[in-house]
């Protein structure tokens, strides 16, 4: 399946489908049409059918999609069928907020370690995680097989943290600092900068 070139835009929509499908499943709704999905998610039904067709013929004409089957397939595609360990650097307000999101990630992903450069933070507990010094980052990442790193430090420190993550073997980074970071080509970076979200939102104001 990985040999197919799936666009970033599609990969970004899959978790949105997954979230809504999980809500349906919790409410015991077992089939859903692309029309319903489109209406709830403000997306074009034709777009949704096209997105899901990348991964095989899931839907049935006149009936729609089997909700549980689709959840399982999307989880497989996104590699969420195994638990991925996540490490976070930067135990400020944003870092703390993200640790508290652990509940929403369910079993597919879990922040398992938190680091901070400030000695005053070391030993503090955030949602059952103990804040560790940066010196312990590499050993912890290797010991806990952490594959994803989250950066919630000020812009000036972001590049250094990214470099440390990469050196320790992290394969993908979610960067919340409003600055472009450089990593080797085999490491994937997503920017979760909220100023970017806000600025693109402004475009749609009348």
């Amino acid at each position: 399946m990985k040999s197919m070139k799936i666009s970033d835009a599609v990969v970004r929509r899959l978790p949105i489908y997954l979230r809504f499908l999980s809500e349906l499943a919790m409410n015991n709704v077992l089939t859903v049409s692309s029309q319903d999905l489109g209406q709830k998610l403000n997306l074009n039904p034709a777009q949704i059918r096209k997105d899901l067709a990348y991964f095989g013929e899931f839907g049935k004409k006149g009936i729609g999609y089997d909700v549980l089957f689709l959840i399982e397939k999307i989880r497989q595609i996104l590699k969420l069928d195994k638990t991925l360990s996540v490490g976070l650097v930067g135990a400020g307000n944003l870092g703390r907020a993200l640790c508290n999101y652990n509940t929403y990630l369910k079993d597919s992903m879990k922040i398992v370690a938190v680091f901070d450069a400030t000695p005053e933070q070391h030993g503090k507990v955030i949602n059952n995680l103990i804040v560790q010094p940066m010196e312990e980052l590499e050993a912890t990442i290797k010991a806990l097989q952490i594959r994803i790193g989250i950066i919630t430090v000020p812009s000036t420190a972001a590049q250094q943290v990214a470099t440390q993550f990469v050196a320790a073997g992290v394969e993908a980074i979610l960067n919340f600092a409003p600055v472009v970071i450089k990593v080797p080509n085999n490491v994937r970076v997503h920017h979760a900068d909220f100023t970017t979200d806000l600025q693109s939102l402004a475009y749609y104001l009348g």
Copy 2:
């Protein structure tokens, strides 16, 4: 310019261009090629030229783009040439973190009011903003001409906050709660749920 249909993907990339161009300007770099932009931002240069061509003929063959002119144009397109007022509901860790981002938004956007439903929060000060009760939301939004609302409350409260925002006249919402909210068609909603970012990132792991 608004009559052209510009895709959401393009609108989402413009703030990323803007951020990098602003860094260049701060370092007194006055021209930049699509190659340079592509390399720094991990994007295809042809894609960048196509994105920017939506808005007119900015680039010059063999010279590149005038950095300051491009900044000005993108700011106009994104309507960042005027200051937009933003209101936030939910003064928890995430809400506090976002208020502290005010510095990065510069003059184009500013969180000017913070609200929370919990009486214990009322009167507390976050980055010079006083946390107000929800009862003051509508009057404050009208008085301060707030056009964008940010939701950083738990999932169970998100829909109610969205409804209050819309009733008060907010035109666009950035929703951080991991739940789909319903608003009228003339109100734009972006989801900034970080679980979605993390889940799409997992796809790229080898």
